[in-house]
C-alpha cells in the first residue's frame, strides 16, 4: 500500500533537488556584482517604505472574524439548499433555528458598533 506513495516521494525528491541545485550552482558559477540597488529588499518593484512589522488597526481583525462567521453560515446553506426538498419541513425548521441564532449575533454585533469603520 505504501508503494502507491512512491511517485509523490519521487516528485518531492526532484523538487528538492531542483531547488537546492539551482541555488548551489548559481552561487558556484554565477557572477557577483553587488550594488546598493541590487542588495536592497524587494517590495513589488517599489522602494521599501519602513518596516513590515507594523501594527494594524484592530478593526481589520474584527471585520475578518465577523466575515469568517457569516461565511461559514453561507457554507452551511449550500448543502441544505441542495437537499432542501428531501429534508422537508424538518430541514426548514432546523435551518430557521440556525439562522435565528446567527441573526441574534448579527444584531448584537451591529448594535455594539463593530460594523462601523470610524
Amino acid at each position: 500500500m505504501l508503494g502507491a506513495y512512491l511517485p509523490i516521494i519521487v516528485l518531492v525528491a526532484v523538487a528538492a533537488a531542483f531547488g537546492l541545485g539551482s541555488i548551489i550552482l548559481s552561487s558556484l558559477i554565477g557572477q557577483k556584482k553587488p550594488s546598493d540597488v541590487k542588495m536592497s529588499p524587494y517590495e513589488c518593484g517599489c522602494d521599501p517604505v519602513g518596516s513590515a512589522r507594523e501594527r494594524f488597526s484592530i478593526k481589520f481583525y474584527i471585520i475578518a472574524m465577523l466575515f469568517i462567521l457569516f461565511d461559514i453560515e453561507a457554507v452551511f446553506l449550500y448543502p441544505w439548499a441542495v437537499l432542501f426538498k428531501r429534508l422537508g419541513m424538518f430541514g426548514l425548521m432546523e435551518m430557521g433555528v440556525f439562522i435565528v441564532i446567527l441573526f441574534v449575533g448579527y444584531i448584537y454585533v451591529w448594535k455594539k458598533g463593530a460594523l462601523e469603520w470610524e
Partner: protein
C-alpha cells in the same frame, strides 16, 4: 423524491440547555438595547433563567427512558447527568450573586458576562449528558470558549489578560489531545457512540490489545485530566485562577471541574468497562500525584487565590481517589463531593471578593490579618468554608472525603486511602494559616470598605447552608447521589 427521515430529536432531553441558551441570547440583546451603565438587572434575569432550568432539571429526575434519550442516542438525560446539572446550576447561581459588586469595583461591568456564564453552563450540561464522544466534545467547546473569554474579562488588568490567553492556549492544546484520542478510538471501534464502543469491545475482545485503542483511551484521559486540573496536567491552573476575575475563578473551580469529571466518568465507566484494570491503575497514579503536588505547593503560597487554586488541584485528587476505586460508591462519592465543593469553594471566594480592593489588590493571606476582630461574622464564615475544605467533621467536606476514601478501601485501595488521608492532614496547615491571620494577628486595616450587599449575603447564606446542613445530615443528598449512579 424520497424524504430523508427525521431523526428522533426529543427536546425534553435537552430542556435545561435550551432554556439557558435562549436566556443567554435574549440577555445579549437586552444588554445592547437597554441603555445605562448599571447591568445588575441582567444578573437577576440570568437567575430567572437558572431557576427555570433548575425546575426542568427537577422535573426530569426519575423520568421514563423515552423522555431522556434524544438526538438519536447522543444525549441521555439520566439521573447521573441531572445531578451534575444541579451542581452546575448551583455554581452558576452563586457566581452570579457574587459577581455584580466585583464587576462594579473593577470597572468592567460589561453585560456580556452574564450570557457567557449561562452559555458555559449550558456547555457543561451538554458535556454531562452527552453519550456520544462528539456531543461531549461539543459541550466541552461551548464551555471552554465561554470560559476563555470570562477568564480575560477584566480587560484593563494585565493578569486577567494573561489568564485568558494562557487558558486559551493550554485549553486548545488539551482539546487537541482529547480530540485525537476520540479519533483513534473511533478508528479502532468504528463508532463515536459510547454504547456502541462498549458493545464493540465486548464482542471483539482482541481490540483491547490494539495499540490504537489503548492510545485513544490514554489520550482521552490526558485531555480530561487537563480539564479537571489533575497533576501533571495542572500547570495552567494557578496562573489562570489567580489572574481571572475572582467570581469567575470561583465558577471555574466548581462548575467546569465537575463537568470534566462527569464526562471523564461517563467515558471511562461506560465505554471502557473492560479496561477497568488499566484505567484504574492510571487513575491511582494520577490521584496520588494530584493530591500531593496540589497540597505541597499550596503550603508555600501567599496569594489566597493562588493558594485556593492549588487546593482545588488537591481536591481534584481526592475525587480521583473515588474514581480510581471504580465502584458505585466511588462514583456517588464524586457526585456528592463536587456538589459540596461548589458550596464551600464559592463561599470562600465570596469572602475574597468582599475583602479585595480595586485592581485585584488585597488578595494576600496577610491581608486577612485581624478580620476576626473587625468583621467577626465574615471571619466566622470564612473559617467554616476553610474548615470544610480541610475536611473537619461537622462540615460537608469531611463527609465527602469520608465517602471517597471509604469507596477506595472497599475496592482494596487501602494505600491510596492512606495517602489521601495524609494529604488531607497536610492540607490543614495552609487552611489554618488563613485562620491564624484572621484571629491571631492584630488588624492592620479597618476593613471599612467591605460592604456586604444583599446579593452576596444571599450567596453566603446558601453556601453556608450547603456546607453545614449536609455536613450534619448527609443522608438525603447522599441518597440522591447514590441513585444518580444507578446507571
Amino acid at each position: 423524491m424520497e424524504t430523508i427521515p427525521m431523526p428522533a430529536i426529543n427536546f425534553a432531553a435537552v430542556m435545561p440547555e435550551t432554556i439557558l441558551s435562549v436566556f443567554a441570547m435574549v440577555l445579549l440583546l437586552v444588554n445592547v438595547f437597554v441603555p445605562g451603565k448599571q447591568k445588575a438587572y441582567l444578573a437577576y434575569l440570568s437567575l430567572i433563567g437558572i431557576i427555570a432550568a433548575g425546575v426542568s432539571v427537577f422535573n426530569a429526575w426519575d423520568a421514563p427512558l423515552a423522555l431522556r434519550e434524544g438526538f438519536n442516542g447522543s444525549v441521555l438525560q439520566d439521573n447521573f447527568s441531572l445531578f451534575f446539572k444541579g451542581i452546575f446550576l448551583v455554581s452558576a447561581a452563586l457566581t452570579l450573586l457574587i459577581s455584580d459588586q466585583y464587576l462594579n469595583r473593577e470597572n468592567c461591568n460589561h453585560g456580556e458576562i452574564y450570557p457567557l456564564i449561562l452559555l458555559s453552563t449550558a456547555g457543561m450540561m451538554l458535556m454531562a449528558s452527552g453519550t456520544d464522544l462528539m456531543t461531549i466534545f461539543l459541550g466541552l467547546e461551548v464551555l471552554s470558549v465561554s470560559l476563555y473569554v470570562l477568564a480575560g474579562f477584566n480587560r484593563d488588568n494585565v493578569k486577567s489578560n494573561e489568564a485568558g490567553l494562557k487558558y486559551f492556549l493550554l485549553g486548545a492544546f488539551s482539546t487537541g489531545f482529547l480530540l485525537y484520542g476520540m479519533a483513534l478510538t473511533y478508528g479502532a471501534t468504528g463508532s463515536t457512540k459510547i454504547g456502541s464502543i462498549a458493545s464493540f469491545v465486548a464482542q471483539n475482545a482482541a481490540v483491547t490489545a490494539n495499540p490504537l485503542f489503548l492510545v485513544g483511551m490514554l489520550l482521552m484521559a490526558v485531555g480530561f485530566s487537563f480539564k479537571i486540573a489533575a497533576a501533571p496536567f495542572h500547570m495552567w491552573t494557578p496562573d489562570v485562577y489567580e489572574g481571572a476575575p475572582t467570581p469567575i475563578t470561583a465558577f471555574m473551580s466548581a462548575g467546569p471541574k465537575a463537568a470534566g469529571f462527569a464526562a471523564f466518568i461517563r467515558v471511562m465507566i461506560f465505554a471502557f468497562p473492560t479496561l477497568k484494570a488499566d484505567w484504574s491503575d492510571l487513575l491511582w497514579i494520577l490521584a496520588v500525584l494530584t493530591m500531593t503536588v496540589g497540597n505541597i505547593i499550596a503550603l508555600s503560597q501567599d496569594n489566597i487565590k493562588r493558594m485556593l487554586a492549588y487546593s482545588s488541584i488537591a481536591h481534584a485528587g481526592y475525587a480521583l481517589v473515588g474514581f480510581a476505586a471504580g465502584n458505585a460508591e466511588g462514583a456517588a462519592g464524586i457526585l456528592f463531593y463536587m456538589l459540596s465543593y461548589a458550596f464551600m469553594n464559592i463561599g470562600a471566594f465570596a469572602i475574597i471578593v468582599l475583602i479585595g480592593k480595586k485592581g485585584e489588590a488585597n488578595n494576600n493571606i496577610a491581608d486577612f490579618a485581624g478580620l476576626g476582630f473587625r468583621r467577626p461574622v465574615l471571619a466566622l464564615l470564612m473559617a467554616i468554608f476553610l474548615f470544610s475544605l480541610a475536611g473537619i467533621p461537622p462540615m460537608v467536606g469531611f463527609v465527602g472525603k469520608f465517602y471517597l476514601f471509604s469507596a477506595a478501601i472497599k475496592s482494596g485501595f487501602i494505600w491510596l486511602a492512606i495517602i489521601g488521608v495524609l494529604n488531607s492532614a497536610a492540607s490543614v496547615y495552609y487552611y489554618l494559616r488563613v485562620m491564624v491571620y484572621m484571629y491571631m494577628k492584630d488588624p492592620v486595616e479597618e476593613f471599612d470598605w467591605v460592604k456586604v450587599t444583599p446579593a452576596i449575603a444571599l450567596s453566603l447564606l446558601i453556601s453556608v447552608a450547603g456546607v453545614m446542613i449536609p455536613g450534619v445530615v448527609p443522608g438525603y443528598l447522599l441518597q440522591l447521589a447514590q441513585k444518580a449512579v444507578l446507571f
